[in-house]
């Protein structure tokens, strides 16, 4: 054994000599400062961003439901416009509410219940014809929520006069009104459930200060990245044909019938940026940007990763702003501009998904690892 030990030691020192001493990172010595206060970030995000988002969404869906009730009681043009406007307000609010699919929202599978699109017009019409609607069957997932209302309120006629007829003189007007009521009531109930769930979940969220899978920071970052990918793929990429050999699907955009797809995509991007920066009506609180700065995270060129991410948010938003609503028409008339916006959104995916999570040592895998 002794001989072997000597041999091993000699071999070891040879290898050490050979082993490359090249440096990996553009990273420099982290600052000698106290650790980042994850709890402060979680408190800022839950108190100033998440709870206000759910509160607003709950209000918006309650207003929507009230507008449906008013409209159904005596359908006329004024009440239709009011209802459409309540719907648009709810859809806009959803853009800053969709990210947080953990805790109560995960339990309620809020995201797919509220916003599965493209909506299934045939399924909706079948439900209207039959006069029945079961919210629990899978086929109705794409016949409910905001996208179904988008069709019912904007897509059932060429203009508001034609749409109004579908709720007044059409042979299935009563069924259609009942369907509206069921959908808006369902949304209202879901929003209320999740909001009330946060009443007790908030302490859990703010108290889970670790970084393992299932911790609040990990859940938040995972869902932020996931929701951002939905934005990139479903709101822009897939309709623009990036996953279908260039064949475009303009009707697959979010809010196709109400023609506010781009406006929503911009709101959505902005909302994700606000979570990242920790900005809210209360000012610029602790966010992931502060976390990255504290971790001294660097981008490829050695500059601050936070700056790179903010620049990429700006670049993506600029490209989106270069487009116009209806996005579906843009996709047909100027597909290159839409795919150019998609490319900028894609770059941000890499920064959020890879650079940010890796710099923070946040676990996103499910199995064990041995660090390789």
């Amino acid at each position: 054994m002794r001989k072997f030990i000597y041999a091993a030691l000699i071999a070891a020192s040879t290898i050490i000599a050979i082993q490359s001493c090249k440096k990996s990172g553009g990273s420099t010595t982290p600052e000698e400062s106290p650790a980042f206060d994850r709890k402060a970030m979680l408190i800022n995000i839950s108190a100033n961003i998440i709870l206000p988002a759910y509160t607003s969404f709950q209000t918006a869906t309650a207003n929507l439901d009230a507008a449906v009730t008013a409209f159904n009681a005596s359908p006329d043009n004024t009440k239709l416009v009011a209802l459409q406007s309540a719907f648009q307000a709810a859809y806009k609010q959803w853009q800053s509410t969709s990210v947080f699919e953990f805790g109560p929202a995960e339990t309620a599978t809020l995201r797919v219940n509220v916003n599965t699109y493209p909506t299934d017009v045939n399924q909706i019409n079948a439900n209207v014809t039959a006069g029945t609607y079961d919210p629990n069957i899978l086929a109705n997932l794409s016949a409910k929520g905001l996208p179904a209302l988008d069709y019912l309120l904007f897509g059932t006629g060429a203009d508001n006069n034609a749409i109004l007829l579908m709720y007044t003189t059409d042979s299935r007007a009563a069924n259609r009104r009942a369907y509206l009521a069921k959908l808006s009531a369902e949304l209202k109930a879901e929003a209320a459930t999740v909001l009330s769930g946060w009443g007790s979940y908030r302490a859990t969220f703010e108290g889970s200060v670790g970084t393992a899978t299932g911790s609040s920071t990990s859940s938040l970052i995972n869902q932020l990245v996931y929701d951002y990918e939905i934005l990139k793929n479903y709101e822009v990429g897939i309709p623009a044909g990036v996953q279908s050999m260039g064949t475009t699907f303009p009707t697959k955009v979010q809010a196709y019938y109400s023609k506010m797809s781009l406006q929503l995509a911009l709101l959505h991007t902005q909302a994700i940026q606000n979570i990242y920066t920790g900005k809210s009506a209360q000012g610029d609180g602790q966010g992931l940007d502060d976390y990255l700065i504290k971790s001294n995270a660097k981008a490829k060129d050695g500059s601050s990763l936070n700056t790179t991410i903010l620049n990429q948010f700006a670049a993506a938003i600029t490209k989106l702003q270069g487009l116009t609503d209806p996005l579906s028409a843009n996709i047909v008339s100027n597909p290159a501009a839409v795919t150019a916006a998609y490319t900028e959104l894609q770059k941000l995916t890499v920064l959020l998904k890879t650079d940010m999570t890796s710099s923070l040592g946040i676990l996103i895998t499910f199995g064990d690892n041995d660090g390789d």
Binding site: S20, S24, A35, F36, S359
Partner: protein, 450 residues
């Protein structure tokens, strides 16, 4: 030659068998209870196989559960020492087969388990303190040749030594990477939390880790240092368990390193276990009616020697194969696996595949989640051989969809130890035309030049 043929008391081997069987039983049950059979082997539609092992396929759900049932039963049999050779052989085969199904789940400690199980097949670990001896008293043995115990010490020595050597580089020792990324993630911990985000703490951990790996096997071998060294083993591995999500690894190492203790210590352990048992085994009787020394026919011995020489030669050479490849090892990962390189890098990536129909020039981006689990996608994004395998799979899929000779390219961004993400592989190369081999993959872009 004293380390090979000197008669030694069998006790360390018996304890090792019990310890290994027990920890494997726990490990397997934990795997099952976490639902990982479903998540890792049943759900995925595609599996990343190892080069040369493409014939290893994941059986259907029933088959998968049968494999794990066999693992549970065989590790239990190994523990109590019943039908030992069949049990440890079954364990080795089933475990290795499961590991070969998908390299997504590759872990160095799973490889270590396969190696240890293989070595256990060669030794008479059931001839003392076992159900086999109770069943067939003539198997009872007190003396075994030293090699039957020393092969495990040698194996563990190699594991620690190579793990230590791999830490002797700039990233680990000077930049304190990846610990200066990983440790601050635990800053929420009470008392020590604030310290963990200090650079000097990450440096200290890095240096201690390297020194630990390099010297601990020798300190365990020396009688004078053994006890304190084992206490350090326990503290070190428990600390890694606390900070990192590395599953059973720390507990496995704490368990298997007991092999370094003397026969006397192991006899004490066994007599302690004996007091726990209700049924007393035959070996406790005083009169020596049975053969006490383990004798192996010469021919069989030659075979075992040959196997061991080949095994340990490979164990010495495989971790060094990376020297044959150009480029930065952590970046290319050519020659990275099976080398006891643990906890060495924080690497992450995002990869977008594109399939082009050469007849129309039109391109589709692939939604990876339709074929891969998130775990698979994450692991694939940073490992070139997996990227290539997936690209070939995509080429086949699109061939089936009626596209002739689809062109598969990948836009892949990888960050290594906080370097910031950069292009990983040449995004202009048609991966469908590249073949897997042990040669250097020229389409991996160099780390420094982009």
């Amino acid at each position: 030659m004293t380390e090979i043929n000197t008669p030694k008391h069998i006790a360390p081997l018996a304890v090792f068998r019990i310890a290994f069987g027990t920890i494997m039983l726990i490990s397997t049950l934990r795997f099952i209870l976490k639902g990982w059979i479903e998540a890792f082997y049943i759900q995925p539609v595609f599996h990343f196989t190892f080069y040369g092992f493409h014939w290893v396929k994941a059986p259907a759900a029933t088959g998968m559960y049968t494999l794990f049932a066999l693992l549970v039963i065989s590790s239990l049999l190994v523990t109590i020492g019943l039908f030992y050779r069949i049990a440890i052989g079954t364990f080795f085969l089933c475990f290795t087969y499961v590991e070969l199904i998908d390299q997504t789940t590759y872990l160095n400690h799973y490889y270590l388990i396969s190696v240890m199980a293989f070595l256990l097949i060669l030794v008479p670990a059931n001839r003392y303190f076992s159900a086999d001896v109770w069943r067939k008293p003539q198997l009872y043995t007190e003396c075994v040749p030293a090699w039957t115990i020393n092969i495990f010490k040698l194996q563990l020595l190699l594991v620690y030594l190579f793990a230590g050597i791999s830490k002797l580089n700039y990233d680990w020792l000077i930049a304190a990477m990846p610990l200066s990324i990983w440790l601050p993630a635990s800053s929420w911990m009470p008392v020590i939390g604030q310290l963990l985000s200090k650079f000097w703490v990450a440096s200290a951990f890095s240096w201690f880790g390297a020194l630990f790996d390099l010297f601990i096997p020798f300190l365990l071998i020396r009688k004078e240092t053994r006890k304190p060294a084992y206490i350090v083993v326990i503290i070190f591995h428990l600390a890694t368990a606390l900070f990192f999500k590395i599953g059973m690894f720390p507990y496995i190492m704490i368990t298997v390193t007991t092999i370094f203790f003397s026969a006397d210590t192991h006899l004490e352990i066994l007599s302690f276990l004996n007091t726990l048992r209700s049924v007393k085994a035959k070996e406790s009787h005083g009169s020596h009616r049975y053969a006490e020394s383990y004798l192996i026919p010469l021919q069989k011995m030659d075979l075992i020697y040959a196997v061991l020489i080949i095994h340990f030669s490979l164990q010495l050479l495989i971790p060094l194969r990376y020297l044959l490849y150009p480029g930065k090892l952590y970046w290319t990962e050519e020659g990275y696996r099976f080398s006891w390189r643990v906890m060495l890098m924080e690497k992450g990536g995002t990869i977008f595949f594109h399939v082009k129909d050469p007849s129309t020039g039109r391109t589709s981006e692939i939604t990876n989640p339709q074929y891969l689990t998130r775990f698979q996608e994450n692991m694939m994004a940073t490992q070139p051989d997996m990227i290539l395998q997936y690209a070939h799979f995509l080429a086949e899929e699109y061939q089936k969809k009626g596209i002739k000779n689809p062109v598969v390219t990948a836009q892949s961004y990888v960050t290594l130890n906080g370097s910031g993400s950069r292009l990983y592989i040449d995004s202009t190369v048609n991966l469908a035309n590249e073949t897997e081999s042990f040669d250097h993959k020229k389409w991996i872009l160099p780390f420094d030049k982009n």
